[in-house]
Every structure is written in C-alpha cells, then in structure tokens.
Amino acid sequence: MNVPGSYYLTVAALMFCIGAIGLLVRRNALVMFMCVELMLNAVNLTFVTFARMLDDIGGQVFVFFTLVVAAAEVVIGLALIVSIFRRRQGATADDVSLLKG
C-alpha cells in the first residue's frame, strides 16, 4: 500500500492549524505548551514526507535537529511552568503579565 504524500501533508497542515488555534485560544500554560509541541511535530511530519517524496535524506536529518531543539525547549518550558505553579494557583498564561508595557 502506498499512501500519497498529499495525505500526509494534509494531516500535517491540520495538526499545525489545531496547534496554532489551540495556542491562541487556550489560557492554560500546559495546554499551550502541548499545542506548540503539536505544531512542531506537524512540521516534522512535513519534513519526513518531503524527504520521502523528493528522495532526499536532508528532510529527515532536519527532523533530528527539530527533536533536539524541542527536547531542550520542553525542559526549559516545563521548568518555567513548574516554578509558576509553585508561586500561584493554576497555570493561566494571562496572569503572568508582569512585563507588560
């Protein structure tokens, strides 16, 4: 069975949009974080798809980079969220607006 590349790309686009909309509409920092991960993985999927379609290993290599960066990002992001949880109830992103102009 050979699924056409456009299917994967459609799924990736859908995942990206879900992630983006989630990021914009949700207030819970943890959920927003998950949305960012969703967007990242949508992009990863696109990379892998194009790598297969164009028969170029570069796309898959890029995914590794993305994963590494995402892992680092997760560490820092979760640390931030944990320290916010320690200071206040809940993790609503809008409450943390001390640096507003």
């Binding site: 207030r27 927003m32 809008d94 943390v96 507003k100």
Partner: protein
C-alpha cells in the same frame, strides 16, 4: 657706553625685590620687608643715574642704544627679544619713575605701619615698579605690552588691597575692566603694525611709520590712543581713576598720579611718528585731552573727598599732557609729566599724611585749620598747590605754560587751536581755584573736626615727612629742567635724540611773555577767588560754591553723569542682550531642543509600550499574522 650697558640692572633691582619678598613672605615682617623694597628702588634709581650719565656722555646721534636680550618668541620670520631701548626718552621716564618711586616706598614704610599684609604691599609695589620699568625700557611693542599689562595687574591688586571692603574690590574690578578696553586698542595697533611693517621692534617700526598709507598711520595712532586713554584715564574711560582712590594712599600717589597713568602719554610720545603721519589722530587726541581736562576740573571743584579731588585733578592734568601730544608738543608733554609727577606725588602723599594724622578721615568737611597741627605737611602741600596752580617760579608754571603756548602756536595743523588754548586756559583757572579750595578747607579756615575726631590731629613721622620735603624741593625747582633759554642744555634738547620733532616755539619773546602773563593772571584769579570764598570756612557746613552753583554744582558732583551714561549705554544693552539670550535662546532654543527630544521619545514610548500586553497569545497572534502576511506575499508574487 659701558655705563649704558648697565640699563638691565634698572628693572632687575625691583624684580629681585619682588622675588625676595615673595619667597620670604612668611619670614619677613614689618619693617624689614619695607626696607628691602625701598633699597631695591634706590638701587634702581642709582643705576638709572649711572645709565643717564653714560648716555649723556655720548654724541647725540648715538643716543639710541638697543641692548639685545634673549629671544622670547620666534614664529617664522617673527621674532621678539627681550631688548631694552635706552634713549633719552626712556631714561627720563626711568629717572622719575625710580626717583619718585623710591621716595614713595620710603613714605609707605611709615604709612603702612601696623597694617596687616605689610609685606604683601611691598611685594606688589616692587612688582609694579618692575612692570613699569619694563614698559618704559622695552625695545619692542610686545615687551611694552608686557609691562603695560603688568602695571594694570599691579594697579588692580593694589586698588583692591583692602579687599575686605566691597567698595575697594569693586573699584579694582572697574579699573581692570576700563583698562581692558584700552588693551584691546593696543593689541589691534600691534596687529596693524606687524601686518604692515613686519616687525614689532620699536626703532624699525617707528622709522617705517612715514612710509605707511596715511589711513593706516591714523588707524594705528588712534588705536594706540585708545590704549593710552584706558591707561591714562582720558575721555569717558576716566571713570576708573577716581574709584581707584580706594587703594592705600601711597598707591594713589605712585600708580594713579605719578607713574602708571602717564604710561599712555609715554606710549604716544614714543609712537609719535604715527601721530605725525596721521594728523587726524592728533586732532582727536588734542580735543579729547582738552575736554577731559575741563570736565575733570569742574568735577574737582565740588568734591569733598580729599583724595578724589586729587584724582580728578590728575585726570585734568593728564588731559593737558594729551593736549600737548595732540598738537605735537611732545617734549612739553614729557616736561609736564615730570613736573606733574613731582607735585602730584607730593599732593597725594600730603593727603595721606593728613589722613594719617586725622584717623583716616578723607572728608574735607571734617578738616580745617590743620596747618597748626601738621606744619611740615601743610607747607609742602602748599608748595605743590602753587606748583599745580601755575604760579611763577614753581615747576607747574613752566610746564603748563609751555603746553598752553604750544597750543596757541598750534602745531601739526590742529584745527581751532585757539579754542583749545581757551579751554586749557579756563582749566588752568579752575585748577587754581579747586586747589585753593582744597588747601583752605584742609589747612586754613575753621576747625570743623573738633568734636568729631577722638584725638587732636598730629604731624606724621619723619619717615613720611622726609619724602614730602624732597618732593617739595623738586616741585619748586623742577621747572629748571626746561627753562626756555638759548644755549641752556634743557629737556627739549636732551629729548631730541628720541623725539626728533621741532618743538613748537612762540614766534617772539613778547608773545611768549604775554601768554605766560595771561596764564599767571588766570592762576592768580583762581587762587584769589578761592581764598575769598573759603576764607571763612564752610558756612554751617555748606560749601559756599555749591550753594552758588546750584543745579550746575550737583551736575558736576555727579561727574557729569558719565558713570550712569556708561551704565546706560553699555550695561543696559548688555543686560538686555543677556536677558534675551538667557530667556529665548537658552531656555527656548537650547533647552527646547533637549527637552523636545526627550518629550518625543517619551511620547512615542508611551504609545508603543501598549503593544507589550504581557499576554502570550497576543504575541503569538502577532507572530502568526506576520507569518501569514509573509506567506501571502510570497504566494502572490509567485516565486516561492
């Protein structure tokens, strides 16, 4: 010739005195420092006499000796050395500066007795003498200027010697500022001389003067005259001299009567080729001189301060000297300068002696009848009085007569010289009158000081009366320097090597005799009128002259309103301009620019900061919109 080579010793003595007193200012106390300073002045005088005899033994053609000194400034072709010019003119100046200076130093030891800052006073006096000697001996204009500034500085320091008194500090400042106006003229004159003649050395510059364009020569002469007017208190610039009386009296005698204020006359006589070549300048000098003489004499008529009367009298006599310079009678100016140095120093020292004996009182209304208490001062003062009033055979008669005669004859094509003579003659009358008024108010008439002073007036110590006696003898005999007699080796002939100008002589003996008689009669009228008016003293403390003059007297007393006029013309526009600059330019333009930049930044910041909401989703939305726009642009342009 070898004796002439010693000329450098003349300024070296007071310089040494200055250095010794300055370095030893902690160790040296009264009266040692005073004696050191005096001995230095005597040393300078003795070397001046030696130089004089050396110069006198030379032939007339060789009587201008330049002593080469080390180089001071070199810039390209421009070179200034510390050269000394020894010639009859400078030696004459040096003789009376050191001679009168030494006497005044001696007198000061007595006068400054018990004063705080005794050593400092003599340090300044020696420094002044040094600067003055540099001024008259200098071989180029820049060195003259060095001495010129030096005497200005010392004058400032000594006028405000009692700087605890605000009036003294103010007077010092005023003198300094008025002198700066003149200095500006001096500098411009030097620039002009250098740019046209390429040198500042006196002899080449002076011999080059006749080759200048007439306009240039006139400009140089007028600028030099501006310098002289500042230093010698001519025209409206005279206002600093009466205020300079805030200084100790020996200073008034030395600097503001006998020596420094004559520097302007010296400068013009020295630079006479410029005046000769630009005769329009001579007109200005003569007219301003005559008018200054008249105005100052009228102010002296109504003043009550014993020293200020003498100050105005000095201005008036300086006016005579400039009148002489203006009409081209240079030797007459120098002659009057010398005799004036004698009798004016004597008058000031006499006034100082009176003040010394009457608890530092300067108000002539609180004097009277003092001749019984201080006979030496009274007699010497009266010698000076007769000298300045122009009575035969006192010194002032000869010199003043020569100036008036020269004005009558009228040299250098000065217009309306009969009118100038008339002003001079009226001034002579006024001079005799106000001096008589002073003598009578101080030494004769009723004893108005009774009940106002704590002690009876007393005669000053010998240290102070000795210089008075010497100066009195000089004031009596000084006229012999230039008695107009054929074959007599007089001042005119002596100065001829330095001022090779034909002296203005009366056409006949009869004319000269008539002019002299008129001058003596005018002086006599002034004296008799003065005695008649003041014989009974002040009536109920009222000056009989002031009551007679009425409004005119008050006008004279206010100094013809010259001080307020200067304030009105200089101070007021200056203040107004400063106000405008402070208010609109500084506060409006400069502060406005600075504050404006700050306000713009603040305003923009206040609006732009709203963008930073602190909501993560806002940032995310911005990011997405941006990305969308970029994507859209690429899609539309179609070259993705």
């Amino acid at each position: 010739m070898d004796a002439v080579r010693l000329a450098w010793l003349i300024p070296a003595f007071p310089l040494a005195g200055f250095v010794i007193l300055f370095l030893g200012r902690r160790a040296l106390k009264e009266p040692v420092s005073g004696w050191i300073a005096t001995v230095m002045m005597v040393g300078a005088f003795v070397s001046a006499v030696v130089v004089f005899s050396g110069l006198h033994s030379l032939d007339e053609e060789h009587r201008q000796v330049v002593l080469k000194g080390v180089e001071w400034i070199r810039a390209g072709g421009f070179s200034v050395r510390f050269n000394l010019l020894v010639d009859p003119l400078s030696v004459t100046m040096v003789l009376f500066v050191t001679g009168v200076g030494a006497l005044i130093h001696l007198y000061s030891i007595g006068y400054m007795h018990g004063q705080e800052r005794f050593t400092r006073f003599f340090t300044f006096l020696n420094m002044f003498a040094f600067a003055m000697l540099v001024l008259v001996l200098a071989g180029n204009y820049l060195l003259v200027f060095l001495g010129w500034e030096g005497v200005g500085l010392c004058s400032y320091l000594l006028i405000s010697f009692w700087f605890e008194r605000p009036s003294a500090a103010r007077a010092g400042k005023k003198a300094f500022v008025a002198n700066r106006v003149g200095d500006f003229g001096f500098m411009l004159a030097m620039f002009l001389i250098f740019s046209h003649l390429g040198t500042l050395d006196l002899l080449p510059a002076l011999s080059g003067a006749p080759h200048l364009a007439r306009g240039t020569a006139t400009a140089v002469a007028l600028l030099l005259y501006l310098a002289a007017a500042g230093k010698s208190a001519q025209g409206p610039l005279f206002v600093w001299l009466p205020d300079a009386m805030e200084g100790p009296t020996p200073v008034s005698a030395l600097i503001h009567a006998a020596t420094m204020v004559t520097a302007g006359v010296y400068l013009l006589v020295r630079s006479h080729p410029f005046l000769q070549h630009g005769p329009a300048a001579g007109d200005v000098v003569a007219w301003v001189g005559a008018l200054t003489a008249l105005v100052a004499a009228t102010i002296a008529l109504v003043n009550f301060d014993i020293k200020r009367v003498l100050a105005y009298s000095t201005i008036s006599q300086l006016g005579y000297m400039f009148l002489a310079v203006g009409v081209g009678a240079y030797t007459a100016a120098i002659f009057h300068m010398v005799t004036h140095a004698f009798f004016k120093a004597l008058l000031f020292l006499g006034a100082g002696s009176v003040m010394h004996g009457t608890e530092d009182n300067q108000d002539m209304r609180v004097m009277g009848g003092l001749r019984k208490f201080m006979p030496v001062t009274a007699i010497t003062f009266m010698v000076a009085w007769l000298a300045i009033a122009g009575i035969v055979p006192f010194a002032g008669f000869w010199s003043k007569d020569e100036i008036l005669a020269a004005t009558w004859v009228g040299g250098a094509g000065v217009s309306a010289h009969y009118f100038l003579w008339f002003i001079g003659a009226v001034t002579a009358l006024l001079t005799a009158f106000y001096m008589t008024r002073q003598v009578w108010m101080v030494f004769f008439s009723d004893e108005r000081w009774r009940g106002k002073l704590h002690h009876e007036p007393h005669e000053s110590p010998k240290l102070m009366t000795f210089p008075l006696v010497v100066l009195a003898v000089l004031s009596f005999l000084g006229g012999a320097l230039n008695i107009p007699k054929e074959g007599f080796k007089n001042l005119t002939e002596w100065l001829h090597a330095a001022v090779p100008v034909k002296p203005l002589e009366v056409h006949s003996f009869g004319q000269g005799f008539m002019l002299s008689t008129v001058a003596v009669i005018l002086g006599g009228i002034g004296i008799l009128a003065g005695i008649r008016l003041y014989a009974k003293g002040l009536r109920n403390g009222e000056d009989p002259l002031l009551t007679r003059l009425g409004g005119l007297g008050r006008f004279f007393d206010r100094g013809w309103g010259i001080d307020p006029a200067i304030s009105w013309f200089v101070d007021r526009p200056g203040r107004a301009a400063a106000d405008v600059l402070a208010r609109s330019v500084d506060q409006g333009l400069i502060d406005g620019a600075v504050n404006g930049v700050a306000a713009v930044v603040t305003g923009v910041g206040a609006r732009v900061r709203k963008v930073q909401t602190g909501f993560v989703r806002n940032y995310a939305l911005t990011l997405f919109s941006g990305a969308t726009v970029v994507l859209f642009v690429f899609l539309v342009r179609g070259n993705l």
